[in-house]
């Protein structure tokens, strides 16, 4: 398997309430292409911060991160934006769909940003919404969809530009356990069929159980790792 993400000595500090907070305190990790991985930890352990840095949404205070061997610290903000657009898809706890736009337009958004022509955009978005099982809900707005459906739209949007990495920040946090399980199962299917790398931040052990590898984060450090089939 080829290495897709490598993080070396990641430190992230920020000021909160006038005091410096160390959200990440020297994280090293390597993720192979096609992995289905969970990052677990209590709230405040730095999971989301790590995910944002892995997704090129934020820059680390120290250390570096390489995606397919490209050092992100050497890229400009504009190049990072392009990378997010092409290589990375985000799925959030609160879905983060744009409320005034229907499912199709939400899925089309990353394609529009990439400059994909209108018809192709529409075709691709319809394809993706069918793939996530929402073929009959395409023109519904987020407030007309259930939580599970909204998260499926978000997954379709994450897949829009066919990125190789999908980052999920508590994707089941706002769903009941049954719907949450369905969403994770969908992700697993996509992982198996397309070989996309999924990194799922969660504090739900049931979700983590469905992944192949779990990284445990505590106080900004990786404190443990568990592979499926291993005790």
């Amino acid at each position: 398997m080829t290495e897709i993400i490598r993080a070396e000595g990641l430190v992230k500090e920020y000021i909160q309430g006038g005091r410096p907070v160390r959200a990440l305190d020297g994280v090293d990790l390597v993720i192979e292409e096609g992995e289905f991985l969970a990052i677990m930890g209590p709230s405040g352990s730095g999971k989301s911060t790590l995910l944002h840095i892995l997704g090129a949404l934020d820059r680390p205070t120290e250390g570096r991160i390489l995606i397919r061997g490209v050092d992100l610290s050497k890229l400009s903000d504009m190049e990072l934006a392009e990378l997010r657009n092409r290589e990375i898809g985000f799925v959030f706890q609160f879905f983060n769909l744009i409320p005034r736009m229907d499912a199709l337009s939400n899925v089309e958004l990353p394609l529009a940003i990439a400059g994909v022509p209108r018809e192709e955009r529409r075709r691709r978005a319809m394809e993706l919404l069918k793939l996530v099982g929402l073929g009959d809900r395409m023109t519904h707005k987020p407030n007309e969809l259930s939580g599970g459906e909204q998260q499926r739209v978000a997954i379709a949007r994450a897949l829009a530009n066919d990125p190789s990495i999908i980052l999920c920040d508590e994707p089941t946090g706002n769903l009941d356990s049954k719907t949450g399980e369905e969403v994770i199962r969908l992700m697993k299917e996509l992982n198996l069929e397309s070989g996309k790398t999924f990194i799922i931040v969660t504090h739900d052990p049931a979700v983590a159980q469905m992944t192949e590898r779990i990284l445990y984060l505590h106080d900004g450090r990786i404190v443990g790792e568990k592979r499926r089939g291993m005790p």
């Binding site: 949404l57 934006a81 997010r84 985000f90 959030f92 005034r100 940003i113």
Partner: protein
């Protein structure tokens, strides 16, 4: 992001905030309408005056003894006239006496300018005079008068108050006391629509000799109208007259008048346009305000856009487009309202002050107003859009 997609996205955002958007548009619209109507009215005034001046003819030159107005304190003399006649390229020079007097016509009394002219020469200078009834005065007429259209039938009157053959009495005050003279109406003129300096519609013509006698002018005259032999020689003749008669006289050619009127209306335009532009600035501040609020409300949306790969530039352009759409639409609607407003203002002016204003909308005015409104929109959007573009994506996504 492609330009069209940016615009469509911005439109979509605008549609979500219709009420605020409408308020912003109204702000721009008011400014645009004010500028449009005021520019149109000053343009109209300019055009009307220019048209009137065309009646004077491009080769006509007027000499007055310094200053405009009837019966000014200064005088010219018949000797001045002879000197002007000797200047090369002067085809014609004719004396004019023009003084106000109290006139009684058909039982009505009012103050009217009495103009004494040498008829056959005068008619060569003021070419748009046409007789409606009777005849124009003749050189030797001592008791004949010709009435301008507005004298024979004052505006607002249903019927004319004088006919050919009617008697008019002219009363003037002199040092010796009240002096009265009686004239017979020999003719009535058609309406000309006016001319610069003297409008034939609003005066009574008598012969120069009769005027000299009436006003006891002796050798003195009020004005000399000159025709140069060609347009090319007008400037030469103007200079020569100034040399001959000295600095105390005012020599006016059609070109000079046009220039002066142009200067006055241009300053008027700048002044009124400037006042109206202030309202656009106020509207712009309104846009800055609402867009800043809008950026705050949409912080999360901006975070989402950035997460899915929008560049700072994309976000900047989305918000600038919104501002542009506001300015542009406001400008277009402002022009349309301004055309209407100009009509309203001219109707009010006509009804209340009896001033005829004919607003003149040129394509330049429309384009200028729309351009100016659009620029106002974009400038107002700069700061909020810059703020939006530079939001930290992680913080934006966390924003509740």
């Amino acid at each position: 992001m492609k330009t069209l997609d940016t615009l469509l996205y911005a439109l979509d955002g605008v549609r979500e905030r219709k009420f605020r958007f409408a308020l912003n548009i109204i702000g721009i619209l008011i400014g645009g309408a004010a500028i449009t109507s005021l520019l149109a009215i000053t343009q109209g005034v300019n055009r009307d005056i220019s048209e009137q001046m065309e009646l004077l003819g491009p080769t006509t030159i007027a000499i007055t003894p310094g200053g405009f107005g009837y019966g000014g304190k200064g005088f010219l003399t018949m000797r001045d006239l002879e000197r002007v006649k000797r200047i090369p390229h002067v085809a014609l020079a004719t004396p004019i006496i023009s003084m106000s007097a109290t006139v009684t016509i058909g039982g009505r009394t009012g103050v009217v300018p009495i103009v004494g002219v040498v008829p056959e020469e005068y008619l060569q200078v003021i070419r748009n005079i046409e007789v409606a009834e009777g005849r124009f005065i003749r050189r030797g007429d001592m008791a004949a008068a010709v009435l301008g259209a507005n004298i024979a039938q004052p505006p607002g009157e249903e019927e004319s108050i004088a006919d050919v053959g009617s008697r008019i009495i002219v009363t003037i005050k002199t040092e010796e006391g009240i002096k009265r003279a009686t004239y017979r109406v020999a003719g009535i003129l058609k309406e000309t629509g006016g001319a610069f300096i003297i409008s034939p519609d609003d005066v009574i013509y008598i012969s120069l000799r009769a005027a000299q006698q009436l006003f006891d002018m002796g050798n003195k005259i009020h004005r000399i109208a000159v025709e140069a032999d060609s347009i090319e020689n007008v400037d030469y003749v103007v200079d020569a007259i100034e040399d001959e008669l000295g600095e105390s006289v005012l020599v006016i050619s059609a070109g000079f008048v046009r220039e002066t009127v142009g200067r006055i209306t241009t300053s008027l335009q700048v002044l009124l346009g400037g006042v109206a532009a202030i309202s656009l600035i106020v509207a712009g501040i309104g846009i800055v305000n609402t867009m800043t609020i809008s950026v705050m409300e949409r912080t999360r949306e901006i975070g989402i856009l950035k997460a899915v790969g929008a560049k700072n530039r994309d976000v900047l352009l989305i918000f600038l487009s919104e501002a542009f759409i506001t300015g542009f639409l406001g400008g277009v609607l402002g022009v349309l309202s301004g055309i209407f407003l100009g009509q309203v203002i001219s109707s009010i002016a006509q009804l209340t002050y009896n001033i005829v204003l004919s607003p003149y909308i040129t394509p330049t005015i429309c384009v200028t107003v729309i351009l100016f409104s659009s620029i106002t929109g974009v400038l107002s959007g700069l700061y909020p859009a810059w703020r939006a573009a530079n939001l930290n994506p992680v913080e934006a996504l966390r924003y509740e």
